[in-house]
Symmetry: C2
Subunit: 571 residues, 2 copies
């Protein structure tokens, strides 16, 4: 492609709207343009790389028997009511009516549609297992769209769904996708780890997230260097810290007029936050939930939600609810005598002797509280794991790092097949629900993650297999015939070889062209300048600092070598 005829909207300035490298570079390299908050247009360079990622995904999922289909984005509410997710999806789902006032949504995910397809096409165990997938546009009305393609309202996703006769089959399908995902992210040159994840609102048992370690990631991931354990902090179980046991003392009410926060309490009682029992009050679908954790710990809302069987509306309780269940102003809640519908007690609270907690009375705390004697509740793991804690698997120290979730695989089990009646007839003639799995990859987010891991201060450093164009031929001065003629010749020869090549025939200074090609991240640059009179050109790889003077005849083999190294075919 001749660059003089292309729309190449590169920017010298860093756009104010962008905070993270991938977002800045995609804007600066002219790969995307924002249309509205969380809504982007893909420009030619962006779309080309998107399509390469899609092709890698398509190939690897197909290799494991996946069959590609394409479902609509506009989905009738009936299906979502059958699975009981029409209400559960809350305000993250875009809803609309057609001219006849029929309700639709824009699909944020497609479990219902695939389950519906399969229930009408699959009758017998003979037709299973099956894996169907699509690469399609999804919609989520994000509260805070951000970081460019990392979190959008409209985004391209690969979603696959597996259908099996039994648990063994589901496990096999799940493991196949696990392997396919590892292949995909490896081919995308991503340093990516599968981690245990919570299955959350998707339902089902067992799931893994594919996490790209990145400072800009929105997720926190627990890693154990010792045993290799990896999990989302939302999911990672905690091991209760056992402090010295004391003999139980009598409860004591203490006046603590202006003492409300854990910090205040530490000062007032002159003791560590570990000696306090902190009581948080949530409001979940109309029910009040008290959660008691140690004063130095953080609550894990995912674990709390799971413990109460899920909730559509889940938030810290409003003031009037707090007053109602404690009978006191905010800051004095405690587990003893609290009137919430549910009381959840963290494992560490059970291990704690004679702790201090709110008295459910304005201006008072209670000392020497003890679980069992003074209050009871549902005991479990309700807190977030912290850096340096024990690994839940091997007991060694864990580490917490930030990550970007690029893929997620779930075992759904029979959640959808049961609610929507997707059954098959087994060998024994009995009707049974199909076992399902679902498997997603964010295509745009994967592109962003690749840029996060492959860039420098000058721009993107595309791996050869993902670059929008693989090579650029730069005539230093388009007005000099000898530059242009040689450049054209090399350009045509490379096109013939099958190289995806640009000819930068714009009437610009060489410096501008170099800057653009580095910003866009073209892996190979062939510069045709004054040395062409000796039959020499300059060859430069984007990921190497050195330039090399090479004869025109030798450059083609040099280029072939790069394809060989990348395991790619070229003529």
């Amino acid at each position: 492609m001749r660059m003089s005829r292309m729309i190449i909207p590169t920017l010298r300035e860093v756009p104010a709207e962008a905070e993270i490298p991938s977002h800045k570079l995609m804007l600066r390299a002219g790969m995307i343009r924002k249309l509205s908050s969380g809504i982007y247009n893909y420009m030619p360079f962006g779309l080309r790389t998107i399509k390469k990622i899609e092709d890698i995904v398509r190939e690897e999922i197909s290799n494991f028997g996946g069959q590609e289909i394409l479902c609509s984005a506009l989905l009738p509410s009936e299906l979502w009511k059958e699975s009981e997710r029409w209400d559960k999806m809350g305000s993250e789902m875009f809803r609309l009516n057609d001219r006849n006032e029929r309700e639709f949504c824009l699909g944020p995910t497609h479990e219902e549609v695939f389950t519906d397809l399969v229930r009408s096409e699959i009758k017998s165990y003979k037709q299973l297992p099956m894996n169907l997938f699509q690469i399609q546009t999804k919609y989520r009305d994000e509260r805070r769209p951000r970081f460019g393609l990392m979190r959008c309202k409209e985004f391209i996703m690969k979603d696959a769904y597996s259908f099996d006769v039994d648990e063994d089959g589901l496990n096999e399908s799940y493991n196949d996708m696990y392997q396919a995902y590892q292949n995909i992210f490896e081919r995308c040159s991503l340093d990516c780890s599968p981690v245990e994840a919570d299955s959350g609102a998707m339902g089902g048992s067992g799931s893994a997230e594919f996490m790209v370690k990145s400072e800009v990631g929105e997720d926190e991931v627990v890693f154990c260097k010792s045993c290799g354990y990896a999990a989302n902090v939302e999911k990672a179980p905690t091991v209760a810290e056992i402090l010295d046991k004391e003999e139980m003392k009598d409860l004591e009410e203490i006046e603590t007029p202006e003492v409300k926060t854990i910090g205040d309490l530490e000062k007032f009682f002159n003791t560590s936050a570990k000696k306090f029992g902190k009581t948080l009050i949530y409001y979940a679908d109309g029910k009040s939930v008290a959660v008691v954790i140690r004063g130095d710990r953080e609550a894990n809302e995912v674990k709390i939600k799971n413990a109460i069987g899920g909730a559509v509306d889940f938030e810290l309780a409003p003031l009037h609810i707090i007053k109602e269940v404690t009978g006191a102003e905010v800051g004095f809640a405690g587990p003893i005598g609290i009137k919430t519908d549910v009381v959840l007690v963290d494992l560490e609270i059970v291990e704690l002797s004679n702790f201090i907690t709110g008295a459910n009375k304005t201006g008072y705390h209670i000392a020497n509280a003890n679980y069992g004697r003074d209050f009871e509740g549902v005991v479990g793991d309700f807190r977030k794991i912290e850096n340096g804690e024990q690994c839940p698997k091997c007991g060694e120290e864990i580490e917490i790092a930030r990550g970007v979730e690029v893929g997620h695989i779930f075992k759904l089990g029979t959640k959808y097949s049961e609610s929507m009646g997707a059954n098959y007839i087994d060998k024994d003639g009995k009707e049974k629900p199909i076992l399902m799995g679902c498997y997603g990859i964010g295509i745009g987010r994967t592109m962003a993650a690749i840029i996060e891991q492959h860039h420098d201060e000058d721009g993107i450093k595309w791996p050869l297999a993902l670059a929008p164009y693989e090579a650029v031929v730069v005539p230093v001065n388009v007005k000099k015939e000898e530059h242009m003629n040689a450049a054209e010749e090399i350009y045509n020869k490379l096109k013939e070889m099958g190289v995806e090549v640009l000819l930068d025939d714009r009437n610009e200074r060489a410096g501008v062209k170099f800057k653009d090609s580095e910003l866009i991240g073209i892996p190979m640059r062939i510069t045709v300048g004054k040395n062409i009179t000796d039959g020499m050109i300059e060859f430069k790889l984007r990921n190497q600092p050195e330039k090399e003077l090479v004869s025109v005849e030798d450059v083609y083999d040099k280029i072939r070598d790069e394809y060989k190294k990348a395991n790619m075919f070229i003529k």
Copy 2:
């Protein structure tokens, strides 16, 4: 691909919901499945052909310098308000609000988005001309979705937009796309004619529709065998028929108590419908419009709308308006003394002497009406052309046929660039509006049109370049080792050659497999049966009735020949 592992939802029965061959066959061949009225899922066979059509379109548009981008479907209302189409699009546009009550629509077309992109990226004449296109999903809330992929609520479209400095440039861009479209539809094996079309709500001057002649088409197209003229009936100008001129007689009011329709009048006055002036009353955006045409003619609402400068709400006037402007019951409207805001008079009425028309008085008609003496109005062409009328170009007899519109190209001119401020700086330093063209192809509708032109009673007859799979190897009995082994060998060899081949390894009777392969429309079938012991197989082309007994060695060259005939490459 092994068919035993595929979802092949073929149907023996003709689905009740389908009326036309393409719709029936796409359902029966398992290419699509309906999700909701006008909303379909593409199954594997359907999607594969869709992608082949997309690739042909992509290649031909790129050959003329088109650059592919991808815009969002979710579009903010602001852009549509700038172009003043937010209200004009009416109830055909899906509208929705996000969680912050911001208004969005689902793009029914993308002029606004592309104009917005270009106004922020294009500054100078040096960057022009430019052609940007996308293959993307569109949304229209059709009043009556029908005929499968012919008229949907959600559909895939290629839309291209050209940007030029002047009329000459626009004409060149338009002609390029005209040529690209002819190439595309030829490669799609479609018998397709470009016809003059009305530019309607898209605005601008000059447009052509690419029409596939088909009995099931929703459009009527005028063709002239003599000079090659072709136009949509909506657009085709009419030539006024000149009847014998008479001397003007005096107006005469005649009591016609129960005479309301043209049929009634013909009987009552014992004369031809040609002697009547029929007055239709429309209501357009709050204005009343009377249209006078000859009694035997049909009104052309597109021409009428254009004559009044367009209208969002346009319909035959409700009763109370008719009574208000005529002062009479329905059935007695006439041009003399009518109180509509506008009176449109068809050319033939001007030519008509002493005609009969309504008296604007219940129970009365007027005889001997004459344009000029008795009434005036805006004279023009407001009627539909009829079969057998004179060609507006050469005067010979025209023919009207039904057609399916698969593509449409428009010269938009400066309609959008002026309303949205998409300007460039010309050589002389002056700011000027960019001239635009827009160019659409319905991908799914093209697939449907191909099936309309390529099928028989047994199923689809895909041209090789468009078939979901190009060949199928059918072992007659999968339980016979010699059948399966030979079939596998041929299957693998064909895969190696690059043939897109199926192995029908399902445990079904050969008859079932043959029926499926004919229904799906696989161009080449290789059957491995009892003759394999002599090294012979049966070779059959879908578009030929004969089968042929061929040796296994010879079949590969036979297959290569088919690719050669189709101008396709194979190893």
